[in-house]
Point group: C2
Chain length 232, copies 2
């Protein structure tokens, strides 16, 4: 259905933006924290790079395929729920009429105001089913091409994010130096990512930037502490 | 609003189940794949355990805090969008009336059938705003206690899932044996988890079990391959 132009302001993030955010949030955080943790255990930078790349491979595939299956299962869920509604509108007509009435009573309409709506739905069962999907179940028809695109976007964002904290360990063998650079680079990247994410999701950019940096920092500190504890 | 009893069948998963699924799906997969990858690089089992625990700490905090912030930002998003709708209903009355009409025209109702709905909304602006939130924007009022509970559930599920693939490396120093046991235990855990997840999400349990096991297997194989490639 058409939307009045002013409503577009409501939607500040698209599905692709959401996928980039999902992938990059974890991609920047987990490999960073793992590398910091292994530095805390005073291992060689070669091991940190191996573990980091293995983690990026594992994380990007797990999240990407996870996103793919989630989108696919949303689509299947929608199809099976729609089928159920179609048969309910046909077989449990009175119960479904009551449900439509309850929905509108909840918004303060009277029985007299609801009657013409029911009349309209009786004439167009398809519209009735669509209405129940959206209104009773809160489900919207998913985009069929979404699953594959979503998987690639999430995985790509995870890999791009994960290479930032790992890069210093690839450049230098001095693990202390690498850790310092990794913290600095990833801190900046988390801050910028949080800032931009805030602009898309409608959260105040500075707040979003600080929150994102804090999550990465806490995860890295915990991983560092635990790894150092074990290594002693 | 009250729901007719038969509609409950539609909802097979609660928010808590969804959080357990989110945390455990990654918790079973990423530490498993990382440990397999480091085994592929022929490192000591002590390093695998250190890296694995660091990853579990990093992953559970990143995902848990990420879930917390997502739930908080959903709540803030809802509040700010509601404020905008309240002012739009007051200041852009005609545009909002047109939007209500468009919504119902999309379901096949005539102008005559829509008129009483508009009349009802004019008398109850609060109901009008609620309607626009749900219908135009597809937003539902979030549960205020959700953020904290969601964070703890996701993190707990991640830790529980992550300990499964790591346990064998803690028991034996023979890395080949540990890898074999890790694959066997995690394979069974992924299969069972996928099966139960399928029952909650309405996907056929066997299909869900096989998909979940496949994701974990692919992630582990990729991590194994990459780590072995680097270590050579």
């Amino acid at each position: 259905m058409p939307q009045a132009p002013h409503t577009e302001k409501h939607f500040q993030g698209s599905a692709a933006v959401r996928d980039v955010v999902i992938g990059m949030a974890d991609g920047l955080t987990v490999p960073f924290a793992l590398a910091a943790g292994l530095s805390g255990a005073a291992l060689e930078s070669g091991i940190v790079v191996t573990a980091g790349l293995a983690e990026i491979a594992a994380g990007s595939i797990a999240m990407g395929l996870g996103g793919y299956l989630a989108a696919r299962s949303d689509a299947e869920h929608y199809a099976s729920e729609r089928e159920r509604e179609v048969s309910e509108v046909a077989e449990k007509r009175d119960a479904e009429r009551d449900e439509v009435s309850e929905v509108f009573e909840g918004y303060g309409l009277t029985a007299a105001q609801i009657a013409p709506i029911l009349e309209g739905f009786e004439k167009d069962k398809d519209a009735w089913v669509d209405f129940m999907m959206r209104f009773e179940l809160g489900l919207e028809a998913p985009d069929p091409r979404r699953a594959r695109r979503s998987a690639l976007t999430i995985a790509g964002a995870y890999i791009a994010g994960g290479m930032v904290p790992l890069a210093p360990y690839m450049v230098t063998h001095a693990i202390g130096t690498a850790l310092t650079w990794s913290i600095a680079l990833t801190g900046i990247a988390l801050f910028l990512f949080g800032w931009i994410k805030g602009r898309f999701t409608g959260v105040a950019p500075l707040k979003s930037a600080l929150q994102t940096t804090l999550v990465g920092g806490l995860a890295a500190a915990a991983a560092f502490g635990i790894a150092r504890l074990i290594a002693r």
